[in-house]
């Protein structure tokens, strides 16, 4: 990481772990999508949905914190000819289509199946996109991983601790949202069994 960044470099302990964890979360969503299609277990669809949902939130954070850093470092909020930025935006916008896709399909079985196919396809696109960006010849965005001279040991330690903390935060929020979704679906089932009218807001979440 650039030592000439000064105090502004502290943004990287937040921005880079958020970007890495969000991309891994998208891939995780694809893995759960595969498990859903293989075993036809709807709980994997729910896991995939929650993983992608959380990654989208972290993705929004990545874009905003990245823009703040770019403004401070480059004097621009956004640079369109920078492959790292544009490719991340493409991935983010791609996943923004995930929830509208779910909303567009009424039948829960079809919704789950199509969402899994989307999660797998887009999940495969994430590492390919990452590789393509790494192979790019011209870039101004700093490289944190794979360039050891950029990251002195003390900075590396702080960075890996931040990365671990972000991954743990993601895992905690994932578990919390999963628990809430499972409870909600059990409540729906209970209401149906009691013959109560189910009047809940429409949601893209798996039923």
């Amino acid at each position: 990481m650039d030592s000439d960044q000064g105090f502004m470099q502290k943004i990287f302990y937040l921005h880079v772990p958020m970007a890495i964890v969000s991309l891994l979360g998208f891939v995780l969503g694809g893995v759960f999508g595969i498990l859903h299609l293989r075993g036809n277990d709807r709980s994997h669809d729910l896991r995939s949905y929650v993983a992608i949902h959380l990654s989208l939130i972290l993705g929004a954070g990545t874009l905003v914190t990245g823009s703040i850093w770019a403004r401070a470092s480059w004097g621009h909020w956004w640079v369109w000819d920078e492959p790292t930025l544009v490719s991340y935006l493409i991935v983010f916008l791609l996943y923004c289509c995930y929830q509208p896709l779910r909303f567009a399909i009424e039948d829960p079985e079809r919704q789950a199946r199509y969402a899994s196919v989307f999660a797998i396809t887009a999940g495969a696109f994430v590492p390919l996109n990452f590789l393509a960006v790494r192979l790019a010849q011209a870039y101004t965005h700093p490289r944190v991983l794979g360039a050891t001279d950029n990251l002195p040991p003390r900075m590396a330690l702080a960075f890996y601790v931040s990365l671990l903390a972000m991954a743990l935060l993601y895992a905690t929020l994932w578990r919390m949202e999963m628990a809430a979704k499972v409870t909600r679906s059990r409540l729906r089932a209970l209401r149906r069994r009691l013959g109560d009218e189910v009047v809940l807001g429409r949601s893209a979440a798996p039923r």
């Binding site: 939130i57 403004r71 109560d196």
Partner: protein, 63 residues
């Protein structure tokens, strides 16, 4: 603004603070939404509990 108050702080403190505040706001908003949902579910459980016919089994215990 923070850097202006304390001259010992380096430049660009505002940008760093803004980035961390954005992250904090994201987490707080997310947790608040989840808390509201869980609280709605809690009310729903209570409502369903009232719907279930009470046959008095719970009061009798194991006697």
């Amino acid at each position: 603004m923070i850097a202006a108050v304390n001259p010992a702080l380096p430049d660009n403190t505002g940008y760093v603070a803004a980035a961390y505040l954005v992250f904090l706001a994201l987490v707080v908003v997310y947790v608040a939404i989840m808390a509201a949902r869980i609280s709605r579910m809690e009310e729903e459980v209570l409502r369903l509990d009232r719907l279930v016919p009470d046959d008095g089994d719970e009061d009798r215990g194991d006697e």
